[in-house]
């Protein structure tokens, strides 16, 4: 089974980004919404209308494909005009809409070019204009930036955001790139093994991940194995032989736990709870990255904002973290970093 128990609703004018590793079912989800594939069970509703049984060409959604899927025998204008032509929009009105759409993506100058003479970024924008030209209810974007180089990616991302804000089109966007997801999404859904693990605003997802997978997928994180001990009605977490505070432990059972602490939350402090030895130090300008080895041999990473001139390789330091910075999960789940 590629997808299981997906329950997702996207509000009008919202950007929802589905993010997950390759093979998690992202593309399948998009194809089910667009109608290219059908689900074995379940419903697809668009603007309240049940579209489950409708073929792709009857659904008011368009897709921006990963490889753009531009028609090689048509020029830029004819590509963008395609959805209007098949819908039988009158010529004059169609030309106006195409001109407008090419304006959104800044391609008026290339209106008569052949698509195979365009660069990757320009093709991407043609595909975008083509998907937006007849103002569909929802535009599905299948990793639209993954084939672009990083510089162009940032630029296109901004262009996308600008267009979406202006047109208030609903975007369902899928990607495997967490930064893209965090930057673009009004809400993010993390898909893993065909299941939506959590859906929410980017900041909430980053700060309060509900599963270990979400925590490690949305950003770098250190995992420390520990134990949860129930002592006299309250819970105590023991790591490396030390009891440490931990919140967000809603209903976590006694037993082995894993604590996830993001590198930027690891603090070097003489009053710290755990002893550690600096094994490597990298200066990155805006932060210092320290590799720290705990007494158990586990290595954790710390991104320090302060210069910390004393934390040199070989030095012994003590570390701690803010009580609410530790993300706690039962340790039986698989840890992926």
């Amino acid at each position: 089974m590629v997808l299981d128990d997906i329950n997702l609703s996207v509000a009008r004018g919202e950007i929802v980004v589905i993010v997950g590793p390759s093979g998690c079912g992202k593309s399948t989800l998009l194809k089910i919404v667009s109608g290219i594939e059908t689900a074995d069970r379940g419903q697809v509703l668009l603007s309240g209308r049940d579209c489950t049984a409708l073929p792709a060409y009857r659904r008011p959604v368009h897709t921006v494909f990963q490889n753009y899927a531009l028609f090689p025998h048509l020029d830029v204008t004819a590509n963008v005009a395609f959805p209007l032509n098949v819908a039988g929009v009158p010529r004059a009105a169609g030309e106006r809409l195409v001109h407008e759409a090419l304006g959104w993506v800044k391609l008026q100058a290339h209106a008569r070019r052949r698509v195979d003479s365009l660069s990757g970024g320009e093709r991407q924008r043609v595909a975008l204009a083509r998907a937006l030209v007849d103002s569909p209810h929802c535009v599905l974007l299948d990793e639209p930036l993954s084939a672009l180089d990083p510089h162009l990616r940032a630029e296109t991302l901004e262009l996308l955001q600008g267009i979406q804000k202006r047109l208030e089109t609903t975007f369902l966007f899928i990607t495997h790139d967490r930064e893209e997801a965090l930057r673009l999404g009004h809400r993010i859904g993390v898909l893993n093994g065909g299941r939506l693990e959590q859906v929410g605003p980017p900041q909430e997802m980053y700060e309060a991940p509900r599963t270990a997978f979400v925590a490690s997928f949305l950003g770098k994180i250190n995992w420390i194995v520990g134990e949860c001990v129930h002592s006299g009605g309250s819970r105590v977490f023991v790591v490396e032989g030390q009891s440490v505070p931990g919140t967000s432990s809603n209903g976590i059972a006694a037993g082995k736990v894993q604590l996830g602490i993001r590198p930027e939350d690891v603090l070097i402090d003489t009053d710290g709870w755990l002893a550690a030895q600096v094994i490597a130090r990298r200066f990155l300008g805006n932060c210092v990255v320290l590799e720290l080895q705990l007494a158990s041999g586990a290595v954790i990473i710390s991104d320090c904002r302060e210069p910390l001139p004393d934390a040199l390789p070989g030095q012994h330091v003590r570390i701690r973290w803010a009580a609410d910075a530790a993300h706690l999960f039962p340790a039986n789940g698989t840890i992926s970093t």
Partner: protein, 265 residues
């Protein structure tokens, strides 16, 4: 830096074409305008006899039959190859490569052997008939239609059809507006690859036709054998004209279409 001229690289090809193609073609044309020599060969004296024979009813009927046969074979192979190529292009890469290889495999066996094979395969009633010759010709030239079409269908891949449907085209409209325009140039070049050799084909009409199916190819062969070289040469010129004229026409049309689309940019 001045770019060095590379035109001289074409010299061997030009020399080759002049000596081995234009020269003989001119000779054939010249022969058709000569007088017949009783013992074969030609007498170097201008004469229109051969061309008067070559535009008589018998010859024109054979020319017409040849054209009809070549056109029918081209159409038949297009009809067979088009859906076949569409299906092949959808197959996984390995299977497709294997099938394309097996389709082109007959091309590496001798034409004579294959034709003898067909003489045994064909029901007796079909031997010596135009449809029989057409059938064997179609089977023989099918790969030339199929291979360019498979390439074109790979280009018109499934994601383009999906994109068309995603953008609102019904399957029929998607075919009409996407698949067909992308595969049409390949169908045209496939048609040329079948039509041109079939209209000059000698061996298959000779063996399958049992001497009862006359096309230009057999005619030329026959009259060289009957020692009327000027007439045979005139028929050969007919054949060349039939093949060359549409080609020149399509070249002119193509270059004009290209200049049009260039100036539109």
């Amino acid at each position: 830096m001045k770019q060095r001229s590379t035109g001289w690289l074409a010299a061997p090809a030009v020399a080759y074409l002049t000596v081995l193609f234009i020269g003989p073609a001119a000779t054939v044309l010249a022969y058709s305008l000569c007088q017949r020599d009783v013992y074969g060969g030609v007498r170097p004296a201008l004469s229109w006899d051969a061309w008067q024979m070559a535009i008589d009813n018998v010859t024109l009927r054979i020319v017409g039959r040849t054209l009809l046969l070549a056109a029918t074979v081209t159409l038949a192979s297009l009809i067979v190859a088009y859906p076949c190529a569409a299906t092949l292009a959808r197959l996984p890469r390995r299977q497709r490569a294997l099938l394309v290889l097996s389709i082109s495999f007959p091309l590496v066996t001798s034409l004579l052997l294959r034709t003898y094979g067909w003489m045994n395969l064909l029901p007796l009633g079909w031997r010596g008939t135009l449809p029989g010759v057409g059938l064997v010709l179609t089977c023989n030239y099918l790969p030339f239609m199929l291979l360019p079409l498979v390439k074109a269908f790979e280009r018109a891949d499934q994601t383009l059809v999906q994109a068309a449907m995603d953008l609102g085209a019904t399957p029929l409209v998607a075919f009409w507006r996407v698949t067909l325009p992308i595969t049409l140039p390949a169908a045209a070049s496939g048609a040329a690859l079948v039509f041109i050799p079939v209209s000059g084909e000698y061996l298959i009409p000779h063996f399958i036709g049992d001497g009862k199916v006359n096309v230009i190819g057999t005619l030329v062969m026959e009259w060289f054998g009957h020692r009327h070289w000027p007439y045979a040469a005139a028929c050969a010129t007919w054949l060349a004209a039939i093949i060359l004229l549409p080609m020149i026409g399509s070249l002119i049309w193509k270059s004009r279409a290209e200049t049009l689309s260039d100036s539109a940019r």
